[in-house]
Point group: C2
Chain length 396, copies 2
């Protein structure tokens, strides 16, 4: 039996997924049970095609640079392994003497890791698979929050604070579409930069609440009437009353990825549609709509400090669990709140996470369904770090 480890990164990139990778490598270097640490490029594909890099001897300064670089340095994948593919994975794992398998990814990546783990078990191959969580959507169950969310939240909160200044300067209606396939955590995080009652975002439409065009237009009209401007955020995954994604309705595509997720249009089509609705139904001075796109998950130099540290710790902990022969998914438990924020890690069954989705709890969503509560701000702000301050001038 080999004593080597392999690491995969899977699913959508984040600003700190490489911090987790650096954590795994660093701790594997320290642990004597592990001989060599290999990185597989584009996840399982890299194992099968033997697109591998030996990461055992990366220096501390290389790990530091790696950890500060967004996106997935090993490349990513959205493939889901079928039994035949798993056989090829196992063949390659055997060949390279792999005993420890680390999968850094979201709920679909956990599912892939679970499939490989079960296939290995069925084949009598003692593989220790540990899943390291990441996703900007923050929609994994069990864990208090996911590495990647804090940094993406930092980007959208910062960006929206700037959008709000822009909207004050040139008043009108501005619509911003923010990522979040199923859950609204990231759309909600755009509110974290608010410092005054009149600050935007004035309306946040979340996937957790049915999105009706009537409500959308009425609420905008109301805010615009009161303030002469309105900054709107819509989660990419907003659904109609029948649960159908507006993005799907608008793009008339309905294509699905191998995990059964709807592939979003990814072209700002939802933006254009929402802006057209406002244009056709309301009279407003200026109207603009932007989709935050990939910037929100891969903008360099904007990691949340807490997020960076936790992502790194999750990577290190995964190695310790593996060395203790414990399979599962690393999770975060909050042990201190507010200014005293702190957290600790624990292990959960990988199937508690695989293909599961967590949504925003009701207590985080305002009564009228288009804003967030103080409980949400208390929850999310420590994960984001200090935001740039803004200075306001008002007429005497």
């Amino acid at each position: 039996m080999g004593r080597n480890a392999v690491i995969c990164q899977s699913g959508g990139p984040t600003a700190v997924i490489n911090a987790s990778l650096a954590g795994v490598i660093e701790r594997a270097q320290e642990r004597s049970q592990i001989d060599r640490v290999l990185g597989a490029f584009h996840a399982l594909e890299g194992i099968v095609d033997e697109q591998l890099a030996d990461l055992t001897n990366l220096s501390a300064s290389q790990l530091e640079s790696l950890g500060s670089t967004p996106s997935a340095a090993l490349g990513s994948s959205r493939d889901r392994p079928d039994p035949k593919y798993c056989e090829r994975v196992l063949t390659s794992l055997r060949k390279h003497g792999i005993r420890y398998f680390f999968q850094i990814g979201g709920n679909d990546s956990a599912a892939s890791a679970s499939i490989v783990s079960r296939m290995a078990e069925a084949a009598g191959y003692e593989l220790i698979a540990v899943h390291v969580p990441k996703t900007i959507d923050n929609d994994l169950p069990v864990t208090d929050h996911t590495p990647g969310f804090g940094s993406a939240a930092r980007f959208v909160a910062t960006g929206l604070a700037g959008e709000d200044l822009e909207n004050r300067a040139l008043p009108g209606v501005k619509i911003n579409v923010v990522m979040g396939r199923h859950a609204g955590f990231l759309a909600a995080a755009t509110a974290l930069g608010k410092s005054r009652e009149e600050d935007g975002p004035h309306l946040i439409f979340l996937p957790e609440r049915p999105f009706s065009m009537d409500t959308f237009l009425t609420r905008i009209e109301d805010v615009y009437g009161r303030l002469g401007r309105c900054v709107v955020v819509a989660g990419q995954g907003i659904r109609d009353v029948d649960g159908v994604c507006w993005d799907e309705k608008v793009s008339a595509r309905g294509a699905k990825d191998p995990h059964g997720n709807l592939e979003f249009s990814g072209t700002g089509r939802l933006c254009v549609f929402l802006a057209d609705q406002v244009k056709e139904n309301l009279t407003v001075r200026r109207l603009r709509a932007d989709s935050y796109g990939y910037l929100q998950r891969s903008f360099p130099g904007l990691q949340s400090p807490v997020d960076r540290v936790e992502a790194h710790r999750c990577g290190r902990a995964a190695v310790d669990y593996a060395c203790a022969e414990q399979r599962g998914s690393v999770a975060i438990r909050r042990t201190g709140t507010g200014a005293d924020y702190s957290s600790e890690l624990f292990l959960t069954e990988i199937d508690n996470v695989a293909s599961q989705t967590r949504f925003m709890p009701d207590e985080f969503i305002s009564e009228d369904g288009t804003g967030v509560t103080a409980a949400f701000v208390d929850y999310a702000l420590p994960l984001v770090g200090e935001l740039p301050s803004r200075f306001f001038l008002d007429p005497d």
Copy 2:
């Protein structure tokens, strides 16, 4: 005759337009010729409607906070004054004892300042008007570059460096639409984060070169064929061979602002159109398109250090010119290049800038028309500041 000053901010916001505002206020506080410094909200509208703030006593720390805040703290405007409106402006200027008029803005704002200045002269009113340049588009003549460009360039270069990492991780075709009404400086600046030959952006389509759909598709097909991925940048102002803006063709609007500029669709419509063309004509694995939108000009906390300093200096210099009874537009002359970058300020006639546009010179555009030259990088990099480093892993 009064001894007061009024300041306006006009046109599209930038990350450092408030640094220029802080510079004007700070220097006006120091100069004994000026009694009070007023800020007019939403430019001339604030003068006419007396939406004014007395900024004379802002503290050094308030000026520091103001200077680090993006967008226009006094609000902005795209209005163009007609003679009747100018009369109302002059009436209010007289009432408030204004002798010094500072207009921080682009070429259209310079035109507005010029109109007010000439109207004042015709009325025998000794108004000293000084224009402080700003525009992220960098399309003003005379000056080496404009305050605001360096910070916007920093945002798009950083963002694109992240997009490129994302595209490496999940290969496909990614299209990004970047601001620039007439000139391609900002689209070109997306190349500043490139560190390796294979790095994106792989293709940059500039308003300075006719954009044909055939070339667009052929070039993407070529890059995708070679690298298995392609990161594309298109300037918002790209035009067809007849000089018609693609954004106008796509949105079928053609609405113009009071300065005669085409109002862009502002909804990602160009993105959707370009992505659809790729989808219909090429076979690629993943396809996404985003518009960088307002983030590129109002993202907090991302000022270029050089840009911030120069914007502030331009504001201070404007006051000194005004106190020396010199009317005009402040401009920047480069006095040192590369690592020894330095600059000095001078004054030019306001009509040399008003309503004039500068384009990318041929020497900044690569032979094939879809990239930038080393001369452009030498020109732009000192204005942007150091960019976040990236760490790469490759299969053994």
